[in-house]
C-alpha cells in the first residue's frame, strides 16, 4: 500500500486519468451516442471553460496562493468583449478588438490581484474574494443585464470548424501546447519553489514578488480565454456568468493532484480534473437522477473529491 502511494507520488494525475476513463465508460453505457463526433464536440464545448480556468488556477496554487476572483474575471471579460464588439459595429476588426480588450482585462485583473497580494502583502484568500466582488460589480456596471448578442461571425466560428477541425478542438490543443510551453520555462520551477518553501526560494535569490504576480496574471489570462469561449457558447453577454467557476476550478486543481499548500502538482492534472468534473455532471444528468437531487449530488461529489484530493496529494 505504501509502495503504491510512493510510486504515485508526483503522478497523482494517473489516478485522475483512471477516474476519467472509468467515468467515460460509465457515460458511454448511459449515453450510447457519446462517441459520435457531434456529441463529443458538444461535450468539449461545455467542458472547455472550466478546463481553461482550472489551468490558470493551477499556477496560482502552485505558487502557494489562491484566486477566488476567477469567476468574476470571466464575467467581466465577457461583458467587456461583447460591449467593445457592439461599440465597434461587429465587423471582423471589431471582433478582434473585442477579444483583445477582453484579454487585456483579464491580465489587468490578474495584475491587480498580484500587486495587492505579493507587493502589499494582503492575504490571498480574502483579497481575491474582495476583488472578485469588485470585478463582479464592474461587470454589472458595463452590462447591467444579460443580453447584447455577439455577431454571428463570432459564435459561428466558435461552433464551427477551422481547416476541417472543430474550433473547440483547436482551442483544447492550444491549451495543451500552452501548458507544455510554460512547463519548459524556468518560471515554472521558480514558481513551484516559491510555493514550496518561500524562504528557500528567497534565500536562493529568486524574485518571489514578480513570480507570484506572474502566476496571478496567468490566472487572469486563462480566465479571459475561458470567458471568450463562454461568449462563443452563449453568443451574448451576461454579467453573472461564471458564478461557480472559483470553487469548481479549485476542485479541478485538487482533483488533478495539485497540493493546495503549493509547490506540488501540474496544470495537466488540472486539465484532467476539469474533464472529470464535466464527466461527473454528464453521468449525473444521464443517470436519471431526479432534477432536485442533481445539485446535491454535484455538491457532495465536489466536496468528497476535495477531501480525497487533499488526502492523496499530501506528503
Amino acid at each position: 500500500m505504501s509502495a503504491l502511494r510512493d510510486s504515485l507520488r508526483g503522478r497523482v494525475w494517473l489516478v485522475t486519468l483512471a477516474a476519467l476513463v472509468t467515468l467515460f465508460l460509465v457515460n458511454l453505457a448511459l449515453q450510447p451516442n457519446l462517441l459520435t463526433p457531434n456529441v463529443l464536440k458538444s461535450n468539449l464545448t461545455v467542458f472547455l471553460p472550466l478546463v481553461l480556468v482550472a489551468i490558470g488556477q493551477t499556477y496560482v496554487i502552485l505558487g502557494g496562493d489562491i484566486d477566488l476572483s476567477v469567476g468574476s474575471i470571466v464575467a467581466l471579460v465577457n461583458v467587456v468583449t461583447v460591449s467593445v464588439i457592439a461599440m465597434t459595429g461587429g465587423e471582423t476588426g471589431g471582433i478582434l478588438l473585442g477579444i483583445a480588450a477582453g484579454i487585456l482585462t483579464g491580465l489587468a485583473c490578474g495584475l491587480f490581484n498580484g500587486v495587492l497580494i505579493a507587493i502589499l502583502r494582503f492575504q490571498p484568500i480574502v483579497t481575491t474574494f474582495a476583488t472578485g466582488i469588485i470585478f463582479g460589480g464592474l461587470a454589472l456596471r458595463v452590462l447591467p443585464t444579460a443580453g447584447l448578442p455577439v455577431p454571428a461571425g463570432y459564435w459561428r466560428t466558435y461552433a464551427g470548424n477551422v481547416l476541417g477541425i472543430p474550433t473547440v478542438l483547436w482551442i483544447f490543443v492550444f491549451a495543451l501546447l500552452a501548458i507544455a510551453f510554460i512547463a519548459r520555462r524556468p518560471f515554472l520551477t521558480h514558481l513551484m519553489a516559491t510555493g514550496g518553501l518561500r524562504t528557500a526560494a528567497f534565500q536562493t535569490g529568486l524574485r518571489v514578488g514578480p513570480i507570484r504576480i506572474g502566476a496571478y496574471m496567468l490566472s487572469g489570462l486563462f480566465s479571459a480565454f475561458a470567458a471568450l469561449c463562454l461568449t462563443g457558447e452563449t453568443a451574448s453577454g451576461d454579467p453573472l456568468m461564471g458564478r461557480l467557476l472559483a470553487l469548481s476550478s479549485i476542485s479541478a486543481v485538487v482533483l488533478g493532484g495539485t497540493a493546495l499548500a503549493g509547490g506540488r502538482g501540474s496544470a495537466f492534472g488540472s486539465l484532467l480534473g476539469a474533464l472529470v468534473i464535466g464527466m461527473i455532471s454528464n453521468v449525473i444528468f444521464f443517470a436519471a437522477i431526479p432534477f432536485e437531487y442533481q445539485t446535491l449530488t454535484t455538491g457532495l461529489i465536489t466536496l468528497l473529491a476535495l477531501a480525497g484530493g487533499v488526502l492523496v496529494s499530501r506528503r
Binding site: 502583502r121 466582488i133 469588485i134 454589472l140 447591467p144 466536496l303
Partner: protein, 318 residues
C-alpha cells in the same frame, strides 16, 4: 495629539462614528431617515446580521485563515427547517429553534473536521459545504418554498415588545452578553484568542486546538441556523437562497468591528456596531438609489480598505 489619534483609529470609535455620519447623511438625503421608528427598523435588520456575524467572529478570531462561507446556505437551511417544523403553530416555536440550531451545528462540525483533520483551507471547505447545503435545500423543498412562521414569532421579530422595541433586539442583546461571557470569562474564550494569536504557542500551553477549532465551526453553523429562524420570523416565509445576502456582510461586519482577519484580536461589541453601521450603509446606498453594481463596488472597496488597516500578513522574515 497622539492620544487623539489612537482613539480615532480604535475600531469601536470608528464604527460608532461612521454610524452617526451615515445617519446624518441618510437624514440629509431623505428627511425622516433617522426617525425613531426607522432606527428601530434598521436595528431589527441589523440584529439578524449581527447574530450571523457572532458565529463568523468566533471562526475569524480562532485564526489560521478562519472564515465561514457556508453561513448563507445554513441560514436558508435554518429558515426552511424552522418553517416546516413550525408550520404556523405557536406551540412549535421551541422545537423549530432546536431543530434549526442543532442541524446547522452538526453541519458546522463537519466543516470544522474538514478544516482540522483533512486540513482543507477553511474558505474552500466552507464554500464546498455551502454547495452541498444548497443542493440539500433544493432536494428538500423540491424547488417550491414551504413552511411558514408562527404568528408569535413574527410578532416577536417585527412588533414592539417593551419600550417600543421588538423582542429580537432583546435576544440580540442577550447574545451579545453571552458572547462577552464566552470570550472573556470562559477557558474556551481564552483558548480562541490564544490559538488565533499563535497556534504553536497555544499548543505549547496544552490547549487541544484541533477540537476547539472544530467546535468553532459548529458554533458558527448554529448561529447561522438561529439567524435563519429570525429571517423566517421577519419575512413570514422563506425561499432557498434567502441567506445568500448575509455571507459577505457578515464578513465585512466582523472586519469593521475591529477583528483582524489574521485572527487573535477583537471582540463582539465591535461587531455589533459593525453590523449596525453596515446595515445603515446599505440603507443609505438604497436611499441614494445607487444601483447594485455600485453597492458591490463599495462593499469590495470597503473590504480592501479594511484589510489595508488590519489584515496584512506579516513580512517574510529571513
Amino acid at each position: 495629539m497622539h492620544r487623539a489619534r489612537t482613539i480615532l483609529t480604535d475600531p469601536l470609535v470608528l464604527a460608532a462614528l461612521s454610524i452617526l455620519v451615515l445617519l446624518g447623511l441618510g437624514e440629509a438625503v431623505s428627511p425622516g431617515f433617522a426617525r425613531g421608528d426607522q432606527i428601530v427598523r434598521l436595528l431589527t435588520v441589523s440584529a439578524i446580521l449581527g447574530i450571523v456575524a457572532a458565529g463568523q467572529s468566533l471562526v475569524v478570531i480562532g485564526g489560521r485563515e478562519g472564515i465561514d462561507l457556508s453561513v448563507g446556505a445554513l441560514i436558508s437551511l435554518g429558515a426552511l427547517l424552522a418553517g416546516n417544523v413550525m408550520s404556523g403553530q405557536d406551540g412549535n416555536i421551541l422545537p423549530a429553534i432546536l431543530v434549526a440550531g442543532g442541524v446547522t451545528f452538526a453541519i458546522g462540525i463537519v466543516s470544522g473536521l474538514g478544516v482540522t483533520v483533512l486540513r482543507i483551507p477553511p474558505l474552500v471547505m466552507t464554500l464546498g459545504m455551502a454547495g452541498v447545503v444548497q443542493g440539500a435545500l433544493i432536494a428538500m423543498s423540491r424547488g417550491t418554498p414551504s413552511g411558514n412562521a408562527a404568528p408569535t414569532l413574527m410578532a416577536f421579530v417585527n412588533r414592539p415588545l417593551v419600550f417600543g422595541l421588538p423582542g429580537i433586539l432583546f435576544v440580540w442583546a442577550l447574545i451579545a452578553l453571552a458572547m462577552w461571557f464566552l470570550l472573556r470569562r470562559t477557558t474556551l474564550g481564552y483558548a480562541i484568542y490564544a490559538m488565533g494569536s499563535n497556534e504553536r504557542a497555544a499548543e505549547f500551553t496544552g490547549l487541544p486546538t484541533r477540537r476547539l477549532r472544530t467546535l468553532l465551526y459548529g458554533l458558527s453553523g448554529m448561529f447561522a441556523g438561529i439567524a435563519g429562524v429570525c429571517v423566517i420570523g421577519y419575512t413570514g416565509n422563506s425561499f432557498i437562497s434567502v441567506g445568500d445576502q448575509y455571507v459577505l456582510p457578515s464578513i465585512i461586519a466582523v472586519v469593521i468591528g475591529g477583528i483582524s482577519l489574521a485572527g487573535g484580536t477583537g471582540n463582539y461589541f465591535g461587531v455589533v456596531l459593525g453590523a449596525i453601521a453596515l446595515t445603515i450603509l446599505q440603507s443609505v446606498l438604497t436611499t441614494l438609489q445607487l444601483e447594485f453594481w455600485g453597492r458591490q463596488l463599495i462593499f469590495g472597496a470597503v473590504l480592501l480598505a479594511l484589510m489595508l488597516l488590519y489584515g496584512r500578513t506579516r513580512q517574510l522574515r529571513v
